[in-house]
Symmetry: C2
Subunit: 325 residues, 2 copies
Amino acid sequence: MNAFLTHGGRLDEACTRFGGDPGDWLDLSTGINPCPWPGAETIRADWRALPDVRALRQLEEAAAAHFGADPALCCAVPGSEAGLRALGRILDLPARHVPLTYGTYAQAFAPARQGHAGPSALIVTNPNNPDGRLYPREDLVFTLGRQQQAVGWLIADEAFADCHPEASVADLVANGRNLAVTRSFGKFFGLAGVRLGFVLAPEALLREIRQLQGDWPVCAAALAFGAEAYGDAHWIAQTQAALPERAARLDAVLARHGLRPTGTCPLFRLATAPDAADLFASLARAQILTRPFADYPRLLRFGLPANDAELARLDAALASWPAGG
Amino acid sequence: MNAFLTHGGRLDEACTRFGGDPGDWLDLSTGINPCPWPGAETIRADWRALPDVRALRQLEEAAAAHFGADPALCCAVPGSEAGLRALGRILDLPARHVPLTYGTYAQAFAPARQGHAGPSALIVTNPNNPDGRLYPREDLVFTLGRQQQAVGWLIADEAFADCHPEASVADLVANGRNLAVTRSFGKFFGLAGVRLGFVLAPEALLREIRQLQGDWPVCAAALAFGAEAYGDAHWIAQTQAALPERAARLDAVLARHGLRPTGTCPLFRLATAPDAADLFASLARAQILTRPFADYPRLLRFGLPANDAELARLDAALASWPAGG
């Protein structure tokens, strides 16, 4: 089950291991909004030409407006993970992060050794993945002060922050401040295949990121969808309201089967089970893919079902789980 | 005219400076095949899910087969420029390249100082951009031997090499050999907006590139189009035959107006004119965009017209160029 412990979304591997075609599966293994922004269905990208430099700038401005950030300090990247890895490479600082966190940081940043005293990059994922914990903005402001004092950096990974604008520190990114924020387009807008994210950072750091990735960092579809999606205030507000409602219904189903869901991020829920590996396999046999974690055998993350039918399917599968009682 | 001196494809800037809508312009400022692989019109990418890890592997294998390279040493990147910049960052060596070359390398690699004696990265673009010069494979093999001896690297940028498989050194990439090759999908297949390229390099170097860019380096469209396009032997053979024929017709038109075209790369031609800036402006007033070069005021690069009508339009515009006589 190694492939499932690295990332969500390994439906290919799930089909090989447990049978069925991708279409048969209910994929709850990621934190991607299952009800995507509908514009992507009708907008056709122009694949022939190189992405337009002005359109890229317009996208960065539209995204910065959504984040409440300075548009001059917003740089599009091919996915927030690519942004984090670029930051890791450029800052080249030993990193610290809260213990229960997603595996990617270890590959983007070298971990700080025990007793490390020099400057470090502190990575805070807000809300955190996989436990959905939301840190208040004040905590991050306080932490930023300490990092700045120690000539280190605070990296706020806000890939899942679109439903929590009040907790975001995107507006605090400024020249001379050792704060970088990463944001994701694909998760909230449900279009992860576009590979679009943003780094908000001081000018000197952004210059290095732009130099590393060149003049056409994102594909024509990212330009075709992105600016319009970030400008769709109606869909954004509706989705910010709908996702927590849907997450509450997921919570009720999980709780009914003795799983204790945690977290405030409506795009996923982390549940505690006596034997999560057994539950993972039981659900996989019903062709429902969830997200287990290598170092936490009692934890299983559930992405959001798209509708009541999907939720009912999960409910039924949990009911037949023998260890559920 | 600064924007036009950095890259081709600045139609947005051209409209602002010389008028018209993008649709009015004949864009001959890039080296992108104007007759794209037709599959992109019908294949719809799935934007919702994260790009599939196995599909990425299949794409890398299909591309490696087209390059004649070891599939284990082939890594997809979001455009060949992104690949070059990643190589520059990771190898971190002072670079040398032939004088008349494209501007990107200066941003990807720090130039070697005069008299530099230590290891260097030698970048050879083959065929070269913008002069279309094709170096025989033997020259590169000889140069590789020298670089390897000096503990340096040879970077062969084969972004325009699809019509010249006999000159490619992609098959020579191997573990223990200081050779990296970059390839482009968008130029030959005419789909630059997809942002897809490849780095062929020894395992240790590829590992660092994969680590820098993360697990989803290219968008869903790159996966949806790429493997099928590289497997379309019929279209590839037809295009390898058609592009040189079309370039020969462009040569005849340029020569008729006193411009001496050079180069063997059929995706563009470099022409010499007494005052290329004047010719650039004259063509731009006829809404034909070409590619001037900052340090070479007598040079102008012409991309390939898509058909006889576009070629006739260029012919007519050149005929009314006053300095043409």
